[in-house]
Symmetry: C2
Subunit: 208 residues, 2 copies
């Protein structure tokens, strides 16, 4: 039988790289909107305009697809914050710029960020992979702190770094519910807490 060219023409063949990105786009959107558990591979395939086995061809499993989404998003975020921090200046300036960059990122890439923040924890089987990404985040922060606090034990710096990252994440979640708070304001709050410290905060000099 002769294939229906009119129909075939609607599904242009793409290179693997292109398709992958397209799949990640769709998956990111739909995971962020309704959550990993509520979305079927069938549906994602349909939205991409392909059949299910192609998703498995490229990502191996549903978790693999999610991991792809998370990895890409995490990479982008990392790039943004590293550029912000790497621009130099005093530790205070670097920290502040890092905060601002983080909050701007999750404002601009809301969907990516939602997936990034909310989903990785359910990936038991991909835990090591995720762990590696986290460690990277944390190491960057430790370096930043080490420049300012050269005499502190490494262990303490790690603790600060982890705490700060946790604070950022939760602050971002809060900002999602309180959209009138700008990235700069959020950064100021975080600076007041982590840099100035609550003890010194009741001096009227510090504004937020």
């Amino acid at each position: 039988m002769i294939p229906n060219d009119a129909v075939r023409a609607r599904r242009p063949r793409m290179s693997r790289a292109e398709r992958e990105q397209q799949m990640l786009d769709v998956a990111e959107e739909v995971f962020a909107e309704r959550g990993y558990g509520a979305v079927s591979m069938e549906e994602i395939a349909e939205r991409v305009g392909l059949s299910k086995p192609m998703l498995y061809e490229y990502f191996g499993s549903k978790e693999g697809l999610l991991l792809g989404v998370v990895r890409r998003a995490r990479g982008e975020l990392r790039e943004v914050t590293e550029r912000a921090v790497g621009a130099g200046g005093t530790p205070e300036e670097m920290l502040r710029r890092g905060y601002v960059a983080y909050f701007r990122f999750n404002e601009a890439h809301r969907r990516a960020w939602l997936v990034l923040l909310q989903e990785p924890v359910l990936l038991r089987s991909a835990a090591e992979e995720i762990e590696a990404i986290r460690r990277q985040q944390s190491e960057m922060m430790v370096e930043l702190l080490a420049a300012h606090l050269p005499d502190r034990p490494r262990r303490a710096l790690e603790a600060y770094a982890e705490s700060i990252i946790g604070a950022c994440e939760r602050m971002a979640l809060w900002r999602a519910r309180t959209p009138e708070v700008t990235p700069e304001e959020a950064a100021t709050h975080l600076m007041n807490l982590t840099w100035t410290g609550l003890a010194t905060l009741n001096r009227p000099a510090v504004a937020d």
Copy 2:
């Protein structure tokens, strides 16, 4: 046919309340160990010594069961921290005791805490429920801060509260990977970061 009494005797009937607790115990253990996605309702039922429909009778769905586990754990945690903070003293003391209580809790109730921290995010459909619990946590912290910082805008206090809670969570995760850090040490790190502040930290007086 006459039922096999020997077999029946192994499955004593229990009151609803008792069974519920037992089911929550099993679910908590197994979710914490292998993750929500990797555990089937069939298996949980089997471990409890009942058949699947009983789980559905009591919890409605798999998510409902998870929610039950989370709610119970969160309640216990809340009790513990509220008692610690409620004992009074200076804001600094209260904050510190709160931190210590939190880290002690997740040391003593490792399984409960793992579920608590790692799973709720995947519950899209139960999001409001979870949100309510979170708000409670955050409100308690806001009250604590308000006593110390009466002149700050509410909005700022909320931001601090959210950040602090996020810092606690992530710190707890870090502690799970670094078990030699005691609850008291973790609390000290957090105090140094949030109370003292990084700016003042390079004075040699503060130890951690």
